[in-house]
């Protein structure tokens, strides 16, 4: 079953080509890492997929009505914006908005969904705390919990683990993997290639405004791709504890 189908997506922002004819399909049960150097167009691709910016080509999500789309895919923007000093539980419950009809109050099902999200992100202790007074990493986790509470088949997350401590980086990627195992799919843009190689079921590499590679980590993180699109060389090894990837040098 396809949760997202992009065909020939091209985006031009301020007369500058950002993406050219990118096609991508994500089925159920995948954790897809979107990688590429700064400015490769990762954020643009995800926003275009959601229909948040005008793009040429077809996106199965952008074609949907706003409300239906919000039930099909949740979006975690890179900017961690929390404008008002609401408590953690209230903020996570905001993820239920797409499921509420006009004037319909938050119900039992919504509270249960928020509860599951809090539980998953280990935030139950913090539920009554004011989000704006939490540390940056804690805020990031609360915002991820909001996306989880939306309980959509697909999650698009823009650098969700940036700024988290190592333990929470790993546990967050684990949670995404669990979601994938449950049949959801997650598309994350990510700079930490080590975590990407270890946790993602599939990597999509953007470079030169286009999709350069798409496949299991081993096929994407080739010495040639790393050199051409990241300017690095790296050590990559399959071990008993899973794949180990470590960038070693800057090249060129």
């Amino acid at each position: 079953m396809s949760l997202l189908r992009l065909s020939d997506i091209s985006v031009t922002l301020r007369q500058r080509t950002v993406l050219e004819r990118v096609s991508l399909e994500i089925g159920a049960g995948e954790l897809v890492g979107l990688i590429g150097a700064n400015g490769a167009g990762k954020t643009t691709l995800m926003r275009a997929a959601l229909g948040l910016i005008p793009a040429q080509g077809d996106s199965s999500l952008a074609q949907m009505a706003p409300r239906a789309r919000a039930k099909a895919a949740a979006w975690l923007p890179q900017a961690r914006e929390v404008s008002w000093p609401v408590d953690v539980e209230t903020l996570v419950t905001l993820g239920r908005i797409p499921h509420l009809g006009t004037g319909q109050p938050v119900g039992e099902m919504d509270r249960a969904a928020a509860e599951r999200a809090l539980d998953r992100m280990g935030l139950k202790e913090l539920r009554a705390r004011t989000v704006t007074r939490l540390s940056g990493g804690e805020q990031a986790r609360v915002l991820i919990a909001r996306v989880l509470a939306q309980e959509t088949p697909l999650i698009l997350a823009d650098e969700p683990i940036a700024g988290l401590d190592p333990a929470h980086q790993i546990s967050t990627m684990r949670i995404f993997r669990e979601l994938a195992a449950e049949g959801h799919s997650v598309l994350v843009s990510i700079h930490d290639l080590g975590l990407a190689a270890r946790h993602c079921t599939r990597l999509v590499l953007l470079g030169g405004h286009a999709k350069v590679a798409d496949g299991v980590p081993r096929q994407v993180l080739t010495p040639d791709n790393l050199r051409d699109h990241f300017g690095i060389c790296a050590h990559f090894e399959e071990t008993a504890q899973g794949p180990i990837f470590q960038a070693t040098e800057v090249v060129g």
Partner: protein, 327 residues
């Protein structure tokens, strides 16, 4: 939350009653309320029905409009400094109203006055939103507000000074500070319909404003139509503030003070803050209008004087708190 609702409603009812029984003509509370509901054939019934009742209803409606508009604009711009008075919406509505009176539109067509004030307010809100950008930083917001307020005030003064009527020039202070004295039921019928439209537009924004807590991108991805929300905020604020200003002049700070005080009590949720601020605004304006009558029973102390005395120090405090962001 329910407790807050009961508390605020009780406060509004209490203040409305005080407003009804308080006036320069010393009449007992029981006697005056009796005359309000029963036509006693005395001047007292006339006083109650044609002077005090409209004054109370207007204070209630205008206060609710200002509180609601303040909460809605703050929620939309995600900035606690957005107040219809401070950012120039009231001043531009006043300009519209003054133009309606001076050109004679108000005299020829009953709803000319509030509709012209609405038009002025639309220009004011649109300019603010244009200048302050989607997420207005405090600095641009306040600067835009100063520019728009000054310009609108200057035009208002110019129009009134150019008027052949010798009284017109003295009305500048009314349009800048606002007053509810000597209003009549006809003012209520003029302002109320438009205010109700404004309330309906702003009151249904709750969920969208809640979603906007997470930023425009996240809100839009949650199915919130931002374009529609923007129109609702612009038209709703313009209708509510325009109608209020047309009959009572520009009254500042209600939309700033009330949401600020109530925000912690509703858990900072912008949606819940809407109705709370409407009630709170009604209470604040009723209280201010009671205060002007207690302080200067026979004079015409402007309402804006009282609201500014309460609001301006709070405004300074808010600037002090947001100065890091403004620097």
């Amino acid at each position: 939350m329910r407790l807050l609702g009961f508390g605020l409603t009780g406060l509004v009812v209490l203040l409305a009653l005080i407003s009804l029984v308080l006036g320069p003509a010393a009449i007992g509370p029981a006697e005056s309320l009796y005359a309000l509901f029963t036509d006693t054939g005395t001047p007292l019934t006339l006083v109650m029905r044609e002077i005090r009742l409209p004054r109370m209803v207007l204070a209630l409606g205008i206060g609710a409009s200002l509180g609601l508009s303040g909460a809605a604009m703050q929620g939309y711009l995600r900035n606690p400094l957005a107040d219809p008075g401070l950012i120039g919406v009231s001043a531009s509505a006043a300009l519209g109203a003054v133009l309606a009176i001076q050109t004679g539109i108000a005299a020829h067509f009953a709803f000319g006055l509030p509709l012209c004030a609405l038009a002025g307010a639309v220009v004011g809100v649109s300019l603010v939103m244009l200048l302050a950008g989607p997420r207005g930083s405090s600095l641009t917001l306040i600067l835009a507000g100063i520019a728009i307020s000054s310009l609108a005030a200057a035009f208002t003064s110019l129009v009134l000074n150019l008027s052949p009527n010798p009284f017109a020039a003295n009305e500048i202070v009314f349009w800048m500070m606002g007053s509810l004295s000597d209003r009549s039921m006809s003012h209520v019928w003029l302002a109320l319909p438009l205010m109700v439209v404004g309330w309906a537009l702003l009151g249904s924004l709750g969920r969208s404003l809640d979603a906007l807590t997470l930023g425009e991108d996240a809100a839009e991805a949650m199915g919130i139509g931002l374009r529609r929300v923007r129109w609702q905020v612009v038209l709703g604020t313009a209708a509510a503030v325009g109608a209020a200003t047309a009959v009572a002049g520009a009254i500042g700070f209600v939309g700033l003070v009330v949401p600020h005080i109530l925000r912690p009590l509703v858990g900072a949720r912008p949606g819940a803050l809407l109705w709370a601020s409407a009630l709170g605004g009604a209470a604040m304006l009723l209280a201010s209008d009671v205060a002007v009558r207690v302080v200067l029973p026979s004079g015409d102390l402007k309402l804006g004087v009282v609201t500014a005395l309460v609001g301006a120090p709070l405004f300074l405090h808010l600037i002090y708190r947001t100065r890091r962001e403004m620097a």
